[in-house]
Amino acid sequence: MTDDIYNKVAELFQTQNLGVLATNLDGHPYTTLVAFAEEKNLKHLLFATSRATRKFANLGQDKSVSLLIDNRQNKADDFHEAMAVTVRGEATEISVNDKPQKLTIYLAKHPSLRNFVRSPNCALFSITVDCFIIVDHFQNVVELRP
C-alpha cells in the first residue's frame, strides 16, 4: 500500500505542471496558480514567483502553505478517475548559494520559464513537505508523511 501510494503521488507530480497554491494573510486565504517542480524524494517542491505578487507578500508574513495538485480534466470521468494531492508545508525562499542547483531541477521541468526565473525580481521558493493528503475515487482520503 505504502509504495503504491507514494508511486501514485510521484506519477501525478510528474504528469502535472501546475498547482493551486494557498497562502495566508491575516487569516484570509489566498489562492494562485503556480508552476511547480518536485525534488526526487518528494520532500521538497519548488515554485517561482515575482516579488511584486500578493503571494510573495503573504509568504513574508506566514510561511504556511498548501498546494493542490490534481489531474482533473473537467469531465464526468473526474469523479471516478481524478486524483488530487494537497501538499501541506512551509515555503521558504531559496538562498543565492542554493539557487543554481535548484534552478536546474526547476527548469528541467519548465524550460519555457527560463527568462522568468532569471529575472532579478523573481524568487524561487521551496516547500518543505509536512504531509500529502491524497484523495482519489472521489472520497478516499489518505495521508502520507514523507
Binding site: 505504502t2 509504495d3 464526468a76 475515487h137 514523507p146
Partner: protein, 705 residues
C-alpha cells in the same frame, strides 16, 4: 439532432451508432425478409442524455466507490440498482423528447411496441450480450415508450451486464447503447433457431413455444425442441415437453396464461413449418457468412424475424460465460418453488441434523466412533453447503428481484427503500436477540444464564467461549433501556406506511398479485438469514468435532487417530472466516517512503445514520466479550452466530461489501449505521481509534490528531 433513424435509412456509416442488432435488422430488411416495422434511437442520443442530465457524473460516483476489478458481485448489484434508480428518476431532456415525438413513425403511437437494446458491443462475432440487456415488450403510448427507452439504457449497467463486461475486461464507462423500437407482432407461436448447434456443427437446433417469445427467452416456459441435420434438413431428434402455459400480451407488458387444453398435446410447429424456419435460417446464415441465433414468431402463417445475431460460442472449449450471469435472473414462479423447498424441507432438515449432532457427547466416544462421527460431520457440511449454494443463494435473488420491481413501480428517492418493506419478518437472529434481551432484564446470575442458554435449542450453536461472551455481554444490555424497542416500533410504523404506498400502486384487480409478490420477497429476505443460521449450526457442530480431534491428537494415542493425524483439520465457521490468511498490520503503515495513515475511506452505505465512537476490531471470538456499548464494530463480516453483539454497537464497519449481507440486514433492523465493503478495514483501523461511520454516504472517517 436525429433522435430516431428509420431502418431503411441505415447505411454502413451509421453502424457505430446503431449497434449490432439494428444493423442486422437493416440487412435482413434489405434482403426482403419479414421484419416488423422498426426504428432506431442511436447511441449518441444515449450519450446526449447522460451529458445533458449530468447522469454521467453520478454514474461515475456510484461506480467509483471501488475499483471495478475489485468489486464483488453483491457490490455490483448494489451499484447497479442505484444507477438504475438514477436513470428511472431522470426524465428525458426536452430536446430528446421533442425529437422522439416528431421523428417517430406516427403509426407507432397507436400500436403496441417492443423496445430492445442494441449496444455498441452487442452481437458482434466476438461476444454476445444476448439476454444480458433488457427488452420491454408491449409498450403503448409515448410516455411509456420514453420510460421503456430509459429502462433499456439503464440495463447497460445491470449487474449481469457489468459482470459480463468484467469477465471480458470491457470498460463499462466506454459502453454505449442504441435502442431498437419495433411494432409488437403478437405471434401464435414463437421461438429461437440456432442454425448451428454450439455443441455439434452438423446439426441445427430449434426451440418453440406457444405465444410470445418472452416466455422462452426468460426461461419461464419450457420449449419444445428439434435437432435438425444441417446437411439435408432432416429432423434427427424431437424433444416434447409438458405444455401448460404460454406468454400473452397483457394490458401493459406480458403475462403467463394457461394454454388451451386443445394445444397441450400438440407441438407448436408442424414438420413443414420446421422446414420453412430451418431454410430461412440457412438463407440468413449465408447472408451474414456465419451461423446465426435467430428469434422468430409466426402470426397468421407468416414467419417474422425479430432479431438475428452471430453465435459466439462455436469452437470454444469453455462453456458460454453468459450462462452464470443469465442464471442471476429468477422468475417469481421459480422462487415460489424454492421457498417451499427451503421452508418445508431444507431448514427443518438442517435444524434436525444440528440438534442430533448436538446430542452426541464427543468426549465420551471411542476413537473409532469419534472418527466416524467426525467424517460424517465433514460430509454433512459439504453436502449442506452444496445444497445451500444450489437452493438458498438463488432464493436470495428474490430480494433483488423485488428491489427492481419496487423501484420500477414506486420510483423512490432512496433506491434501497424497499428493504424497509421487507424487514421485521421474524428472522431467527432477531428472535434470538430478543430472547437474550429478555434474559438480560431478569438480572440472573452468570451460572444461571449459562444453564438457560445451554438448555435452549435456539442457542445450540453457542458454546464454549461464545457462551461466556454472551453471558458477559448480557450484563451490558440493560444499560440500553428500551433503545431497540423504539427502533423496532419505528421500523414497524415505517413498514406499514410503505406497504400502504406500495399497494396503492396496484389497481383493485391487481392488488392480490401485489400482496403475493411482497409476501414472497419477505420470505426471501427472512430465509436469506434463517438458512444461514441453520447452516451455521451444522458448521458449528463440525467445529466442535475438529476441536475434539485436536484435543485427542495432542494425546496421540490410538491407531485411528494416527491415521487422522495425516488429515488436515478443516477450519469452519466464524473462526475460519475471520482469519482468511490476512496479516493484520497496524493502522499506520510505514515504508521507506514514509508513514501512511488512512483518513477517510469509501465503502457502501448499508444502513443509514451517523455514529462516532471508539473502534473495536473483532478478529476472534474472545474479542466479542470486550465490546462496550456504543463502540464501532470493525470486522470481516457479522457472522450469524455473532449477531447478539450487534445491539450494543454504535456503528458497524465490515470488510465484505453489499446491502444484503447478514450484517447489513441486522444493522438496518436495529437502525445502527453501517458501512460495508471497506476491504482494508481491519488493517487501517485499530481498536480504540475514534471512528465516524456515515451510513448515508458509505464513508468511514478515522479521526487523527
Amino acid at each position: 439532432m436525429r433522435v430516431v433513424l428509420n431502418l431503411s435509412d441505415l447505411s454502413s456509416e451509421h453502424q457505430p451508432y446503431v449497434g449490432g442488432k439494428a444493423a442486422t435488422l437493416a440487412s435482413l430488411r434489405q434482403k426482403s425478409h419479414n421484419i416488423p416495422p422498426t426504428q432506431v434511437v442511436p447511441s449518441y442520443v444515449y450519450q446526449e442524455f447522460l451529458e445533458t442530465t449530468q447522469l454521467a457524473g453520478q454514474i461515475q460516483v456510484e461506480m467509483g466507490r471501488k475499483d471495478f476489478s475489485e468489486m464483488r458481485w453483491e457490490e455490483m448489484w448494489d451499484a447497479s440498482l442505484r444507477i438504475r434508480n438514477l436513470f428511472q428518476r431522470t426524465p428525458l431532456p426536452e430536446a430528446i423528447r421533442s425529437g422522439l415525438r416528431e421523428q417517430l413513425n406516427p403509426d407507432f403511437l397507436e400500436k403496441a411496441l417492443v423496445v430492445r437494446s442494441s449496444s455498441s458491443e452487442e452481437d458482434s462475432a466476438r461476444q454476445s450480450f444476448a439476454g444480458l440487456h433488457d427488452s420491454v415488450v408491449n409498450v403503448q403510448g409515448i410516455k411509456r415508450l420514453e420510460t421503456a427507452i430509459i429502462t433499456v439504457w439503464a440495463s447497460l449497467w445491470s449487474d449481469r451486464a457489468l459482470l459480463y463486461r468484467k469477465e471480458l475486461n470491457l470498460d463499462p464507462h466506454r459502453s454505449s447503447m442504441a435502442v431498437v423500437i419495433q411494432t409488437l407482432i403478437i405471434g401464435e407461436r414463437s421461438g429461437v433457431l440456432f442454425t448451428q448447434n454450439p455443441n455439434d456443427k452438423t446439426t441445427a437446433s430449434l426451440e418453440a413455444v406457444y405465444g410470445l417469445n418472452a416466455g422462452l427467452v426468460d426461461g419461464s416456459i419450457e420449449p419444445d425442441g428439434w435437432e435438425i441435420s444441417r446437411a439435408n434438413g432432416a429432423i434427427l431428434k424431437q424433444r416434447s415437453v409438458h405444455r401448460s402455459s404460454f406468454m400473452a400480451a397483457d394490458k401493459h407488458g406480458t403475462k403467463k396464461e394457461k394454454l388451451p387444453s386443445s394445444l397441450e398435446n400438440k407441438p407448436p410447429l408442424s414438420a413443414s413449418e420446421i422446414a420453412a424456419i430451418f431454410n430461412l435460417g440457412k438463407e440468413i446464415e449465408i447472408c451474414f457468412g456465419s451461423p446465426q441465433d435467430i428469434e422468430w414468431t409466426i402470426q397468421n402463417s407468416i414467419i417474422w424475424l425479430l432479431q438475428a445475431r452471430p453465435i459466439t460460442t462455436l469452437n470454444q472449449d469453455i462453456s458460454d460465460p453468459r450462462t452464470g450471469y443469465l442464471n442471476l435472473h429468477r422468475s417469481f414462479e421459480e422462487l415460489k418453488t424454492l421457498r417451499l423447498k427451503i421452508e418445508t424441507d431444507l431448514i427443518p432438515c438442517m435444524e434436525h441434523l444440528a440438534t442430533t449432532m448436538a446430542q452426541v457427547n464427543l468426549q465420551e466416544l471411542s476413537d473409532t466412533r469419534f472418527v466416524n462421527e467426525l467424517n460424517n460431520r465433514r460430509e454433512s457440511l459439504d453436502e449442506w453447503e452444496e445444497k445451500y449454494r444450489t437452493y438458498c443463494i438463488p432464493m436470495a435473488h428474490g430480494i433483488r428481484l423485488f428491489g427492481t420491481f419496487y423501484n420500477d413501480l414506486c420510483r423512490p428517492e432512496e433506491p434501497f427503500e424497499f428493504v424497509q418493506l421487507l424487514s421485521g419478518t421474524g428472522m431467527k437472529a432477531l428472535q434470538r436477540n430478543q430472547a437474550l434481551l429478555e434474559l438480560a432484564s431478569q438480572g440472573l446470575k452468570n451460572e444461571d444464564l449459562e444453564e438457560i442458554i445451554s438448555g435452549d435449542d435456539r442457542f445450540n450453536d453457542v458454546t464454549g467461549n461464545y457462551k461466556k461472551s454472551i453471558v458477559d455481554l448480557l450484563s451490558h444490555f440493560p444499560k440500553q433501556p428500551g433503545a431497540h424497542k423504539v427502533s423496532i416500533q419505528k421500523n414497524e410504523q415505517d413498514r406499514k406506511h410503505l406497504e400502504k404506498h406500495y399497494l396503492a400502486k396496484f389497481s383493485t384487480d391487481e392488488r392480490d398479485k401485489g400482496v403475493e409478490i411482497l409476501e414472497l420477497a419477505r420470505a426471501s429476505y427472512r430465509l436469506r438469514d434463517d438458512d444461514n443460521i441453520s447452516l451455521g449450526k451444522i458448521r458449528h457442530q463440525l467445529d466442535l468435532a475438529e476441536k475434539e480431534l485436536q484435543r485427542r491428537l495432542k494425546k496421540a494415542t490410538g491407531q485411528n487417530l494416527a491415521v487422522l493425524a495425516h488429515a488436515e483439520a478443516k477450519e469452519t465457521g466464524f473462526h475460519a472466516s475471520t482469519r482468511l490468511g490476512r496479516d493484520h498490520s497496524p493502522h499506520l503503515l510505514r515504508s521507506k517512503h514514509g508513514q501512511i495513515s488512512v483518513r477517510q475511506y469509501q465503502g457502501q452505505p448499508a444502513a443509514a445514520g451517523i455514529a462516532t465512537g471508539k473502534a473495536r476490531i473483532i478478529q476472534q471470538d474472545s474479542d466479542l466479550k470486550t465490546v462496550e456499548t456504543g463502540e464501532i464494530l470493525v470486522c470481516d463480516a457479522i457472522d450469524p452466530v455473532m449477531t447478539f453483539v450487534v445491539p450494543l454497537a454504535g456503528g458497524i464497519i465490515e470488510r465484505r461489501g453489499g446491502m444484503l449481507i447478514h450484517g447489513a440486514i441486522i444493522a438496518r433492523e436495529y437502525r445502527i449505521p453501517c458501512v460495508t465493503g471497506i476491504a482494508e478495514a481491519t488493517n487501517i483501523i485499530k481498536t480504540g481509534d475514534k471512528v465516524t461511520v456515515d451510513g448515508y454516504l458509505g464513508l468511514i472517517t478515522i479521526h487523527r490528531e
